[in-house]
């Protein structure tokens, strides 16, 4: 910091809560700052189950990535990857296929710096500092050049990220841009918060997040279906995310008693056929 002039423009504002660090807090992590924790506590006030939801979403991520590796996918583009806590995509994937490659993308400079530190000794994973809404910038980033081969099937992960893209930023267009850029046989994995079950509570949560660096937009089942146009959804389609290819047999008990309304989120994996 010593060489940094005080007047220099700063895109790292620790006074402003970042969803990536709030998410880490829900997961019990300490990669966060007072401002993040403060707003996260407010969010917990509006929706006390957020830690369980966060864990549930991690569990979905794990199941869906495992599924994708089983389908033979060995390239992953994880958009909005956030703070790289344990159980990240590259850990899951590498355990199953050590040669698979994973590119993380995030716009938060702190998340990016953290990921860089973590991935320092991991040649098969990289982090790109870019806004996932700008598919052109992401896909032409020099870090991806020669790393991902987009002429071969690639899995694009949009887990718990599209609900940070407001309608004014054309989320369908964002999805379409990645679909166009990837080869047939590529996959898209989505998990997305919904207002279908508890609209009142969702409004309160949205209100809290409007004070963060990334306000949230919860969508209906139909709206999320629309976003995934051009993909053939694999069974079971777009469903409550805790139900998507849930562990069988012999699962451990669900902390929220398997109540899908308390999770209020859908997930799906789609395949680009042609």
């Amino acid at each position: 910091m010593s060489h940094r002039p005080a007047w220099a423009p700063d895109d790292i504002d620790l006074e402003r809560p970042a969803p990536a660090r709030m998410y880490d807090y829900y997961l019990g992590g300490s990669h966060n700052f007072a401002a993040d924790r403060e707003l996260a506590e407010k969010a917990l006030g509006a929706w006390p189950e957020l830690p369980q939801i966060a864990r549930g979403l991690r569990a979905f991520l794990r199941r869906c990535v495992t599924f994708l590796v089983e389908q033979g996918v060995d390239q992953f583009l994880d958009l909005g990857s956030g703070i790289p806590t344990a159980g990240n995509v590259h850990e899951i994937v590498s355990a199953l296929n050590p040669r698979a490659r994973i590119a993380y993308v995030d716009s938060d400079p702190v998340a990016v710096a953290h990921s860089k530190l973590l991935l320092k000794d991991t040649p098969n994973a990289r982090i790109v500092h870019a806004d996932m809404r700008d598919a052109g910038a992401v896909l032409t980033d020099p870090a991806l050049d020669g790393f991902l081969d987009l002429s071969r099937p690639t899995a694009v992960l949009m887990c718990a990220v599209l609900h940070f893209v407001p309608d004014s930023d054309d989320p369908a267009g964002v999805v379409a841009a990645y679909r166009e850029a990837t080869a047939p046989g590529s996959y898209l994995a989505v998990s997305h918060g919904t207002r279908d079950y508890l609209p009142e509570q969702i409004r309160n949560l949205q209100e809290v997040y409007s004070r963060s660096s990334a306000p949230m937009t919860f969508r209906s089942h139909a709206e999320i279906m629309d976003l995934m146009q051009g993909y053939e959804l694999v069974p079971p389609g777009l469903v409550d995310f805790i139900l998507w290819r849930a562990e069988t047999p012999n699962p451990l008990p669900d902390p929220l008693g398997g109540d899908v309304t308390r999770y209020s989120g859908y997930a799906a994996v789609g395949r680009r056929d042609e």
Partner: protein, 714 residues
């Protein structure tokens, strides 16, 4: 011990369920179960004594955190499960030691983990800052633009290397300096007013172009754009200025401008530049006049002098254009040298025409002085292409009040005056004379108006009879052109024909007169005695030179059916003797005309210089002598009779005409006495008021039928 060895299985299942309800880890159910089974084994093996139990508890607490069970509920759930599933035989000390170890181990591990994660995120933030700063630094340092940042009080916070170079200062040395202290006298007007407004928050942006004295003495022109950043308190927090080096662009522009305003050969200002300067002088005078309310005679005065090399074309033609260019360069230098002591600008208008502008004159004196110096200097011998030669120049000077003068008007006046100097004999100057100019302008405008006047029918013909001295019968009528000018009234030929001859419109005018006269004459009846009446038409020297004249005459006669013998062309003595550009007299053409059967009269005979031997060979039929001879035939008694009678001369002219086989017509016969004398001397025809004044064309026929009622005839 045996009663506790079997506890692990039940403990393990309950523990996995409790943990998964309380918290979560990235592990799936199988992995969780495997991990918890291991922990349950550790516990089961450690229930021997408090020290061992404590150790195992510590290890389990650490393992839970390492397996990402970081939510405190994991600890609570674990303690609860252990309490419920430990065999009843396990002593209180061991139970307590196990739980204490678990709590302490968990807390220690979580603290370590938290520290590690906080350290990781802090490093990440530093790293992100560094990346961001590096990006910013790269922009700041490597930008080709000069960048300067100042605080809201106008103090410099930082400048980058390019701006430091423009300022000619070390980047560190300017930190904390007031921007205002960089003020330079060369800064454009309004620059610092804009800055003040920016600082005060009254404006957000400013632009300007200013000069920086560069480090190496090389001046740098920079185009500056600054904008302010407003802080939370609404005041200017930062000012950021970008400076672009536009020195080259300006130099280019200046070069282009120089090229556009200077003559490449002599390096002198060209017409554009001179007009600009002259306009500035005149505008300045007008502004001053307006401000001081100066009265007529007190205003500023200005002089414009045109100088032109005499016979420059000849130099160019004989010595070549390179020599001509050398001459121009030399003359330019001499004129400049002559004008320099006075500090007056010298320019080249084009060709061999130079100009000196003098402001603040007080009469033509200074201008004449400068011009004479210049003409003297030009006259000095010069070596051109190895040859020594002398050239001269002429000059036109116009000097007048600068108020109310227009640049183009002044230049034109100087040009006209130059022409006067040239036509006055070269190697001299002339001073503009407004009266002379006014006359010229009037004449010029008349000659310009003539072609249109012909078309509009403003010109018409009158006819003056030419009478046989003996029979008193009309033998011919001379066509005299009149101009019914809409503004100036009726104009006689003397007022516009010489002008038309000068400007060349005489050709069109002459053609019109010829056609009109021939057309009229074709309608005339024969004279009283039945003889055909001739129409006499004046032909100017330019017409005689025109190769088309013969055809024109023949065609006109044919068109109107007038016999050639009824047309007489009056050509002045000087026109007949004129050798024109061909160097040959007009005899050939007169012979052709005569060959058509047309009569030729030599007009104004005796007023010019004739080659008498040549006269004999002329195909002319008649000599016309000027009225001045007739007037002198009978001296005016009022003048004391000092003047000798012209009688012998008239008599001689008559004899000469006879000798050349021509008749003689006397013009300007005004009295009976003159008529009698002329008849006595043997003149053939007379013309003048005594016989008849010129009459309108439509009265000619009547006159020819009735004759002169008021003239007594023998």
């Amino acid at each position: 011990m045996s009663d506790v060895s079997g506890i692990a299985g039940g403990l393990s299942a309950a523990w996995a369920a409790a943990l998964s309800a309380a918290s979560s880890s990235p592990m799936n159910a199988a992995e969780t179960r495997a991990m918890v089974a291991l922990l349950a084994d550790w516990v089961a093996d450690a229930l021997v004594d408090p020290v061992t139990a404590r150790k195992a508890g510590t290890a389990v607490g650490t393992a839970l955190v390492d397996s990402h069970y970081t939510q405190p509920e994991s600890l609570a759930a674990s303690i609860t499960v252990l309490s419920e599933h430990l065999p009843a035989g396990v002593g209180a000390a061991v139970r307590t030691a196990l739980c204490a170890g678990l709590a302490a181990g968990y807390a220690d591990a979580l603290r370590e983990r938290t520290r590690g994660e906080q350290e990781a995120i802090r490093i990440a933030v530093l790293d992100a800052h560094r990346t961001s700063e590096a990006r910013f630094r790269a922009v700041f340092r490597s930008a080709p633009l000069g960048i300067g940042i100042a605080d809201g009080a106008g103090r410099i916070l930082e400048i980058n290397e390019p701006l430091a170079r423009m300022l000619g200062r070390d980047p560190r040395s300017v930190r904390g300096m007031e921007i205002r202290s960089l003020r330079l006298p060369t800064d454009p007007p309004g620059y610092w007013e804009q800055y003040d407004a920016l600082l005060a928050g009254q404006r957000r942006q400013m632009t300007g172009e200013k000069l920086f004295p560069g480090l190496d003495g090389r001046d740098i022109w920079a185009r500056m754009r600054a904008s302010s950043i407003i802080g939370d308190n609404g005041r200017t927090a930062l000012m950021i200025a970008l400076f672009e080096d536009v020195t080259e662009r300006r130099r280019m522009t200046e070069r282009l401008r120089y090229q556009a305003t200077h003559d490449p050969l002599t390096g002198l200002p060209n017409r554009t530049k001179l007009l600009e300067e002259l306009t500035a002088i005149l505008d300045g005078a007008v502004a001053e006049n307006w401000a001081t309310e100066a009265r007529a005679g007190e205003e500023r005065r200005v002089a414009v002098c045109f100088l032109d090399i005499d016979g420059f074309k000849a130099v160019n033609d004989t010595l070549g254009h390179d020599a001509g260019d050398q001459l121009l360069v030399e003359v330019a230098a001499r004129i400049r040298e002559a004008a320099d002591p006075y500090g007056y600008p010298v320019g080249r208008l084009g060709g061999d025409e130079f100009v000196i502008l003098l402001s603040d004159t007080d009469g033509p004196g200074t201008a004449i002085e400068v011009v004479e110096r210049a003409l003297d200097a030009i006259r000095g011998p010069l070596v051109l292409d190895g040859r020594e030669l002398t050239v001269t120049a002429s000059a036109g000077i116009v000097e007048r009040s600068a108020v109310g003068a227009r640049p183009s008007e002044l230049l034109r006046a100087a040009d006209i005056t130059l022409y006067w100097a040239k036509s006055g004999g070269r190697d001299q100057w002339a001073l503009f004379d407004p009266q002379r100019n006014a006359r010229q302008v009037a004449r010029y405008s008349l000659s310009q108006a003539l072609p249109a006047a012909l078309e509009r029918g403003e010109l018409f013909l009158e006819y003056q009879p030419i009478v046989c001295m003996n029979s008193q019968r009309i033998r011919a009528l001379e066509a005299l052109v009149r101009w019914n000018h809409p503004q100036r009234g009726l104009l006689g030929p003397g007022q516009f024909v010489p002008l038309a001859e000068e400007t060349g419109t005489i050709v069109a005018l002459g053609r019109w007169v010829l056609r009109r006269a021939v057309a009229d004459a074709a309608t005339w009846p024969r004279s009283e005695d039945g003889s055909p009446v001739v129409v006499s038409v004046n032909v100017a020297v330019r017409q005689v030179r025109d190769p088309g004249l013969v055809h024109e005459v023949r065609d006109t006669l044919a068109e109107f059916g007038l016999p050639a013998a009824r047309l007489q062309l009056e050509i002045t003595e000087s026109a007949v003797m004129d050798t024109g550009e061909s160097g040959r007299p007009a005899v050939e053409r007169l012979r052709l005309l005569s060959g058509l059967g047309v009569r030729i009269a030599i007009d104004d005979f005796g007023t010019g210089y004739s080659n008498l031997s040549y006269l004999r060979r002329l195909p002319a039929h008649s000599l016309k002598i000027d009225g001045s001879f007739v007037k002198g035939l009978i001296p005016d008694p009022g003048e004391g009779g000092q003047e000798a009678s012209e009688e012998p001369i008239v008599s001689g002219l008559i004899t000469l005409a006879r000798a050349c086989g021509m008749t003689l017509t006397a013009e300007g016969v005004e009295t009976a006495a003159q008529a009698d004398k002329l008849r006595e001397l043997g003149a053939d025809h007379g013309q003048g008021f005594y016989y008849a004044r010129p009459i309108p064309a439509d009265k000619v026929a009547d006159l020819l039928v009735s004759g002169f009622p008021d003239i007594a005839r023998d």
